[in-house]
């Protein structure tokens, strides 16, 4: 089938500001949006820039605004979009070229929440034991691929880019609730600052945007609860997440 793809283009070497360009490509309905972008890049207009690598939703390179929603171009099929497809870069970051944005501010926030296991005790000769229940406690947030779809869909982040944003909170959650970690209090304090979890207004855009189906809102709620109770406590039931 034939589809029209409208792409927001911007090349700082020649353009004063971003503008839209339209391309027509022949695709299979089951093709991914990234396949259509490849056709343009390879056979129509080689100047188009878009990051991607794995092509199946696990490397986090190609989160884009597709028909108005944040999604991965490699995980969105053409048949789910209709005959006209619009593609634009993620909001809230500086555009380097076309669909490529400067991710450094995003990674800086990621690094700010101590995203690594801290445990200064001498490790045993074998593995540190962890029950399946303890492991399950943070399973959801281990799935994050740092694609930034959630953070750049968040009105609180649009309003004030100092907010660490949902992705960094997800990363912090992964360690706060890991029974092996000893720095969870410090991490909680980082998220207690005025750039932290209290900025969340429960708009749920993050949950909708996450290509890994992570319950981002629940992760934020659990971090807040830990801050209120001062303990890592039990996981929240779904109906307790507000």
């Amino acid at each position: 089938m034939e589809v029209r793809i409208r792409i927001q283009r911007y090349n700082p070497e020649v353009d004063e500001k971003p503008h839209w360009e339209e391309y027509t490509v022949e695709v299979e309905p089951t093709d991914r949006v990234i396949d259509a972008l490849h056709q343009i890049k390879w056979f129509q207009d080689g100047t188009l820039a878009v990051r991607r690598s794995c092509l199946h939703g696990i490397c986090g390179s190609d989160a884009l605004v597709i028909n108005g929603r944040n999604r991965l171009a490699c995980k969105t099929l053409v048949r789910d979009l209709g005959k006209v497809i619009t593609v634009a870069p993620l909001r809230g970051f500086r555009v380097i070229k076309d669909l490529v944005v400067d991710m450094e501010p995003f990674f800086r926030k990621f690094r700010s929440v101590m995203p690594y296991l801290v445990n200064d005790e001498r490790p045993p000769a074998h593995e540190r034991l962890q029950s399946p229940e303890e492991r399950a406690r943070f399973d959801d947030t281990t799935k994050c691929i740092l694609c930034a779809a959630c953070t750049t869909a968040c009105p609180s982040f649009w309003a004030d880019s100092r907010y660490v944003g949902p992705a960094a909170i997800v990363q912090a959650h992964r360690f706060i609730f890991d029974s092996r970690d000893q720095a969870w209090r410090e991490r909680l304090q980082i998220l207690n600052e005025n750039t932290g979890v209290w900025r969340c207004r429960n708009v749920f855009n993050c949950v909708e945007a996450c290509p890994r189906d992570i319950n981002v809102n629940k992760a934020i709620a659990e971090v807040r609860q830990a801050l209120i109770t001062g303990s890592r406590g039990l996981p929240l039931e779904d109906d307790e997440v507000h």
């Binding site: 820039a49 490397c59 690094r111 690594y116 962890q130 303890e134 492991r135 890991d178």
Partner: protein, 599 residues
């Protein structure tokens, strides 16, 4: 042009590069250069698991693991290296756990393990639970954990820097650094250093149907080759049996590890005929060939070129019941949808997203997909690059991970052994590099260090011809799939060699569309096509020379393994005029004399 001074450079930020960085940076100033953000590396795609004879679920031993690896390799692996890797496996898994890797757990809280193709209890011959895993995202967890620890340790990164050349001090034959292209600005950077470790991963993109990321174009392997370093065992490239039909996206062997079976058009579990003992869990080369033969006999689904992978609990339980399969605690082994979803959530998701098929309800169409490079840059067990039949070390040059050939995988790699290879030899290489940089200073940089790269890029930017590099690449990928795939013959290989020469001719007239400096992917991808052509040609020439069938290299005109003449590694050299010369070095055999390989 910007210049940087370091002691060591690591090229690539996948599992191998990051593990090396953690260890090498203890010896001096080390930087990691990667064309992708580290967390985008394809190590993150690895699903099924990482092997180690921990024996957490049932009895297991490193010796069994080593024998399985040697047998899986069709006796081409160097047995000293295999024994080392398998004996270090348990402690390195524990090290990863201590670094934070969230493995799945047993009820007692230990690291959970599962079955994988080719891994057996050597006494019973039955599959053994040796693959340590974190759901079906083991590679993702390894990549994340190692990157997290690099952040903690303050490792320096240059993200989105594409390395394009290796700098050598020709007089002393020593490493002097690398040239890299900063993708965001188009600027060239010279990194002056006395040691360089390549961890640039594989080159599955050379084939049309592949499980590999767009970035896997064999850059590191091709650029050291152009600098005179030989390549080892390039004819051995693994096709994984279960790629999603047409797309090539991998469906982990872990699915068969959990009980899924392959079915032909008649609904027959055909692996029972090809590998009566381990059936669907035979080595990958064996299963891929079986699928091809079924298709050729007209037993592909609807006569087409794919078969079914059946993960439905009712199918799995039917075969479990028939075989009397048991869990470690002795209870009958059965699975439910919930269990499969927990263990294989991502893979099930791929089928739902890309095929619109729910594998818990319907069988999934699969075909073999180009997956893994057994060959590569020759190294010893310290990840030091060795450049001849005598294994002479090239001072300051290292390689680890999929781009390297130690060789622990020989002619065919067992599933879960690559992730192990990355961390074991990434670590040993990093440690060796730390030692080397403490004891050595860098040699002087060669004059005009960026000259070669500038010339290559200039030709692509302003060449006279009109050839589109993308067209050349797609034609290359098609011919490699058709002629240098699961089954090979002299005619097919000669045809491929001709075609590659023609494409190379056209590549000289290639020209990119994008004249800009900022994020010019058009230019970089065109440069990568040059790497793919080099790699395709070496692979084809080495495959043509090897007149036997061994592991992943299956010659229909020479169907038998020929130990008398071919129990040896190939080494391909590039002569100054561009011609390829082949030489051979012996396989290291310690304990296991070659035997017929039956599964």
């Amino acid at each position: 042009m910007q210049k940087h001074e370091y002691d060591g450079i690591i090229v690539g930020a996948g599992g191998a590069g990051l593990m090396a960085a953690l260890h090498a940076s203890r010896g001096g100033r080390v930087a990691v250069l990667s064309k992708l953000y580290p967390t985008r590396s394809h190590t993150g795609a690895a699903q099924g698991g990482i092997s180690a004879a921990l024996g957490n679920m049932e009895p297991d031993k490193p010796e069994w693991h080593a024998f399985d690896t040697v047998k899986g390799s069709d006796y081409l692996a160097d047995q000293d290296a295999v024994e080392l890797m398998c004996s270090l496996a348990p402690e390195i898994i524990i090290e990863l756990e201590h670094l934070g890797l969230p493995f799945d757990r047993t009820p007692e809280g230990k690291i959970a393990q599962r079955r994988f193709g080719g891994h057996t209890n050597n006494e019973t011959g039955k599959p053994v639970m040796r693959a340590c895993h974190a759901a079906d995202r083991t590679g993702h967890m390894i990549l994340q954990t190692l990157y997290q620890q690099c952040i903690k340790q303050g490792v320096e990164f240059f993200d989105e820097f594409q390395v394009m050349d290796l700098l050598l001090d020709e007089k002393e034959r020593r490493v002097a650094g690398v040239v890299a292209y900063e993708i965001a600005t188009g600027e060239l950077h010279v990194f002056h250093a006395q040691a360089v470790l390549f961890a640039t991963g594989g080159w599955g993109r050379v084939w049309e149907v592949t499980s590999n990321a767009t970035s896997l174009t064999g850059d590191g392997t091709a650029l050291v080759w152009r600098r005179g370093i030989p390549l080892e065992d390039m004819e051995f490239f693994q096709f994984h049996p279960t790629g999603i039909y047409k797309l090539g996206i991998l469906l982990t062997e872990g699915m068969r590890g959990e009980g899924a079976v392959l079915l032909n058009d008649q609904g027959e579990r055909f692996m029972e005929r090809y590998a009566p003992t381990v059936k669907d869990l035979a080595s990958r080369d064996v299963v891929s060939r079986a699928i091809y033969l079924e298709i050729r006999e007209g037993r592909g689904i609807g006569g087409k070129n794919y078969v079914y992978l059946d993960l439905r609990p009712e199918t799995i339980n039917k075969y479990f019941e028939k075989e009397g399969a048991k869990w470690p605690d002795g209870s009958p082994r059965r699975v439910t949808k919930e269990y499969l979803l927990e263990k294989l959530g991502d893979t099930i998701g791929f089928c739902r997203t890309y095929l619109g098929i729910d594998p818990l309800e319907e069988p999934v169409p699969v075909q073999p997909t180009a997956h893994y490079a057994m060959g590569g840059i020759p190294t010893n067990v310290h990840a030091e690059v060795v450049v001849d039949v005598q294994n002479t070390v090239f001072p300051g040059l290292y390689a680890a991970g999929e781009c390297a050939c130690v060789s622990v995988h020989g002619a065919n790699r067992l599933g879960t052994n690559s992730l192990l290879d990355l961390v074991v030899f990434g670590k040993l290489g990093g440690q060796r590099m730390a030692q080397f940089i403490r004891q050595n200073d860098p040699p002087p940089l060669p004059p005009n260090p960026t000259a070669r790269v500038e010339e290559e890029l200039e030709r692509l930017r302003n060449g006279r011809g009109k050839e589109n590099p993308a067209e050349i690449r797609e034609e290359l990928r098609r011919v490699m799939m058709a002629n240098v795939g699961v089954f090979r013959t002299r005619e097919l290989l000669e045809g491929a060699r001709e075609k590659i020469r023609e494409l190379r001719e056209r590549y000289r007239r290639a020209r990119v569309m994008d004249p800009g400096r900022i994020f010019n992917q058009d230019l970089l991808e065109a440069w990568e096509v040059g790497n793919m052509l080099d790699i395709a040609e070496v692979t084809t020439v080495a495959a043509l020379a090897r007149t036997e069938s061994r592991g992943a290299h299956s010659r229909e005109d020479f169907p038998e393994r020929d130990d008398e003449n071919w129990l040896k590694h190939s080494l391909a050299y590039r002569r100054d005029d561009g011609a390829i010369e082949l030489d051979y070095k012996p396989v290291v055999i310690t304990k296991w004399q070659p035997k017929a390989r039956v599964y």
